[in-house]
Symmetry: C2
Subunit: 191 residues, 2 copies
DNA sequence: TGATTAATTGACTCGTCAGTCAATGGATTG
DNA sequence: CAATCCATTGACTGACGAGTCAATTAATCA
């Protein structure tokens, strides 16, 4: 039904905000429900239990990311242009908004023990990787795979460091480092 | 006193094991105490509260890492040799033992809200960075700083990806990628 | 309208857990 | 030996939270 979808969305949004506010998955379903302006029982009605709510939230975040990256690639055909767009998307404002950072960190933790979270994360990694490889291949041939692994790792690592350093506000330097790495990798090909 | 230090050590070791077993900081002080073979009250006696116990555990892990890296650098004077040792240390078996992975992930989460955890993490980052810069400077001059940032980020990112992918057992490929990145960075200097 | 179905509530249960504390036991010391 | 101090226990409390459920309200529809 329409109402059901709307409620789910609202509860997921509230979950992200609440996780963001607390920094942890140690948030109560009551807090989330309160933030969404509904009774606690409703969250259980729609999601069954807390973990399902978290997983639905993770799926939502990954979906949003997927939509964003596709949007940013529209009309871009040059490999370098596409690579730049992909790498920049990971540091776009939406990735730092509200509780996105907290959600990501906690989902990493969750992925250790929840097979479903693990699956979602692996899916995200695979997509990211093949996105990169697709545009790297024409530039780097067989080296594309290795370069993509390094760029992917670098993005995760710099995102992590950036997100945890509260003195940083503007992710510009992090993006610059990633793009520099791309440049370095490409220039090393002709060595 | 002697007994006090011993108990603290035992409780910290038990904390790492317990976090490793659960994957989360959602472990009870009672579980930890039980694993250490003492009564729950004793943990509070020595650490005051749960967060202090976690912070002490984090300090212990960072100290162990520091000792390890210093040991691995002994006798190495060539810059590339030192860089290799530093990078490899981050993927040495001890970094994957027991609950080390879980501890790291959860301390990232904790760092969002605990100023002390934040401080410890920043300290670790600074030390790691200056270790790298020290050996990169003779090879790369002013580029040393940028290269160190990228290598540092890459290490964190690949560690994360490796640690979360249960199908991986041997961290060899991750190390190889990091060393390859170093090679690429150095070769790009003469371009 | 009246009847059927879906949405929503919030009080309640049952378990759990952080942290306290009074009591016990064991050393150490004078 | 007596007195003092430290280590240690584990029962206890007070609070809180996940999940249930019977009851209420709103929407749908024939």
């Amino acid at each position: 039904m329409k109402a059901e979808q709307k409620r789910r969305q609202e509860l997921i949004a509230a979950t992200i905000r609440e996780i963001g506010a607390e920094g942890t998955l140690n948030v109560t379903v009551s807090q989330i429900a309160k933030r969404a302006g509904v009774s606690p029982g409703l969250a259980f009605h729609y999601f069954g239990d807390k973990e399902q709510l978290f997983l639905a939230t993770m799926r939502s975040i990954l979906r949003t990311y997927g939509v964003l990256i596709r949007a940013n690639l529209v009309g871009k055909t040059e490999p370098v242009e596409r690579l730049t767009a992909i790498l920049e998307t990971n540091f776009s404002p939406s990735q730092f908004e509200d509780g996105a950072v907290a959600a990501w960190l906690n989902f990493y933790v969750l992925a250790q023990t929840s097979p479903e979270a693990q699956r979602l994360l692996a899916l995200y990694h695979r997509r990211f990787h093949s996105n990169l490889v697709y545009s790297l291949r024409p530039l780097a041939g067989d080296a594309a795979h290795g370069i993509a692994e390094r760029l992917g790792g670098l993005v995760d690592g710099l995102y992590l460091r950036f997100a945890l350093n509260r003195s940083h506000v503007d992710p510009g330097p992090a993006v610059a480092q990633v793009l520099k790495a791309l440049e370095v990798e490409l220039s090393a090909l002709d060595g």
